[in-house]
Symmetry: C2
Subunit: 340 residues, 2 copies
DNA sequence: CTGAAAGCGCTTACAG
DNA sequence: CTGAAAGCGCTTACAG
């Protein structure tokens, strides 16, 4: 059915070696006769020859494939990243296989194994909790990878992430400048370092402004019970005396879920309560009061991650760790007087 | 570095054939000695043997890989589909490679070629406009594929899609039942069949209710100039005498973009204007008036598509065409009195 | 300038 | 019960 090098060779009456040379543009290097080149190219065209990448890979040990392991590809954050990585990889003739770990290290291991068996040339990974062993395995085996969005603070490994501390610090500082004094934060109860950094930025912003870092103001909830727990958290914020006058949500899901409840409560944003969210989504624009949010540099994440990975694939170099800056997109929900 | 069958064979002092048999669980079938089996398994474990899927694929002609070609993987609709397809494929040990065509047939062709060279076993494709040639090519080459979300009406091919006509008909009928009489629709100016079907459903609903199908009420806009064109369309709706009192948006992007403008205009939904949207997104929940929308059966789309594809891969069977039913999720934006 | 040969890591008839 | 051999489709030293 599908034509192979051998078919072309037979048709022209030469060896497959010769065909391979001209198909791969090595006719000069190998000083193949002009007329020969023409005949081979013609035959290739006639047979509609398409190289079998699998056979090439077996020989070369390179598959030109990147494994992209995320928590959930349907999350807008990762879906956006996927698109950027796809485009960037394509420029170097790489293709990407993705897998969703659902935040469990077991799934992440399984995915990694499957992709390793498929001989991916490297990985871009948003590591789950407890993935130290997995990362170390890759390091021991000398398999190129770069972490994205998240990273493990004590592990020397390539990563492209946000300056989470500063992003949170800036977000909360804005709320303080806008006159808020009882600022709550709802984060996940997690050991994920990047989320802890966001909490740290929040606390530091309060401290530097001489505000008390009260434990009740930083609620840590279960991702598995997002909806219920967020309600409880917001309810407890409102029960305080005086109640919370601003909330910082450090992820897109937290923000969206929080806003839904705020709407159900009929609270007025920003008058009753100011809000700063995280990540970009259409939902922020459609809320009655446009939401101020921390925008992550998605395009840079994707580009840098691919670039770094490809560099590592061609020669396992030194480690690069990138903490990119977020942009605070200020709109009405954070209070103050956005002049416009 | 990585252990191969040969390494195990050498270590145990047997042929690779034997190793292959026991690794693949054919020891019974081949009546391999019990002690031999134990020694081989032990060696495999010690060498941490992982089969090279590429080599297997070259031999078997099967890669256990599905190519998933969509317009844009970062669109929530396709991202959600991707996740479902991933999970479903995994159950059968399939992996998925995705590619975004950006709605251009050239990109779609290129993607298909790249994935074909990588010997994917089959495709799940959301075809772009003018992709007839591409689809026919797959058919001629006898390459398994199933279309998803969209399909070409005249081409006998597997597909899993929505009953678009009925979905639109039901959505518009609801608006009519709720007393709306000047119902506008903003669709893309496209030859994409599934979108035309949605327009047809709209028109038919008007006709059956003895409402005039006025051309000004059905605006067809350019996807490339979504924002500007949607403003123009809505402006022209409002300039009518009497003005439009309801709008049906037949896609998520159209709905979200339309709602943004409606909010800027400070129109009251549903009092000034009722709205029915398409697809599911958080944004619909955060709008001040929860949006009534046509929900597509995403899980069924993904499952059926994979199931159909795998069936076709194992034996290129007869053609199956599925038009699944949408669910109209009725909330406040469509007017009327949702009793709750 | 061109061909024969080996090999990438696996599987699978075929012998014995 | 086990091994030698061929072959999947390609590439690449090595000869000549």
């Amino acid at each position: 059915m599908k034509a192979s090098l051998k078919d072309i060779a037979k048709k022209v009456g030469v060896s497959t070696a010769l065909v391979s040379y001209v198909i791969n543009g090595k006719e000069r290097e190998m000083r193949v006769g002009e007329e020969m080149v023409a005949r081979i190219k013609k035959a290739a065209r006639e047979l509609n020859y398409q190289p079998n990448q699998i056979a090439k890979s077996l020989k070369s040990g390179k598959t030109l494939t990147i494994g992209f392991i995320v928590a959930d590809i349907s999350n807008t954050f990762f879906a956006n990243l996927a698109r950027i990585i796809e485009d960037e990889a394509k420029k170097s003739n790489y293709t990407v296989i993705f897998g969703s770990s659902d935040e469990t290290p077991e799934n992440a291991w399984n995915l990694m194994t499957v992709l390793l068996n498929r001989q991916v040339d490297g990985f871009i990974i948003a590591p789950t909790v407890n993935s130290e062993a997995q990362i170390k395995y890759l390091q021991e085996k000398n398999i190129p990878f770069v972490l994205i969005d998240r990273y493990l603070p004590d592990l020397p490994a390539n990563y492209v992430a946000l300056d989470n501390y500063k992003a949170a610090f800036d977000a909360v500082s804005l709320l303080i400048r806008n006159g808020r004094r009882r600022i709550g934060m709802v984060n996940y109860d997690t050991s994920l370092f990047h989320l802890q950094e966001r909490s740290r930025g929040y606390k530091q912003a309060l401290t530097e402004n001489k505000l008390q870092v009260e434990p009740v103001l930083l609620q840590e909830i279960r991702e598995s019970h997002l909806k219920e727990d967020i309600k409880e958290a917001l309810d407890s914020f409102r029960a305080l005396e005086p109640p919370v006058d601003a909330i910082f949500f450090p992820s897109n899901k937290l923000t969206v879920t929080g806003l839904k409840y705020i709407r159900d409560l009929k609270l007025k944003v920003p008058d009753d309560i100011a809000v700063v969210g995280f990540d970009e989504t259409d939902a922020y624009d459609l809320f009655y009061c446009p939401i101020t949010y921390v925008r992550q540099p998605m395009a840079a994440f994707g580009k840098q991650a691919v670039e770094l990975l490809l560099k590592n694939i061609e020669s396992n170099k030194n480690i690069t760790q990138l903490n990119l800056e977020a942009t605070l997109v200020v709109r009405a929900s954070s209070g103050g007087m956005p002049d416009k």
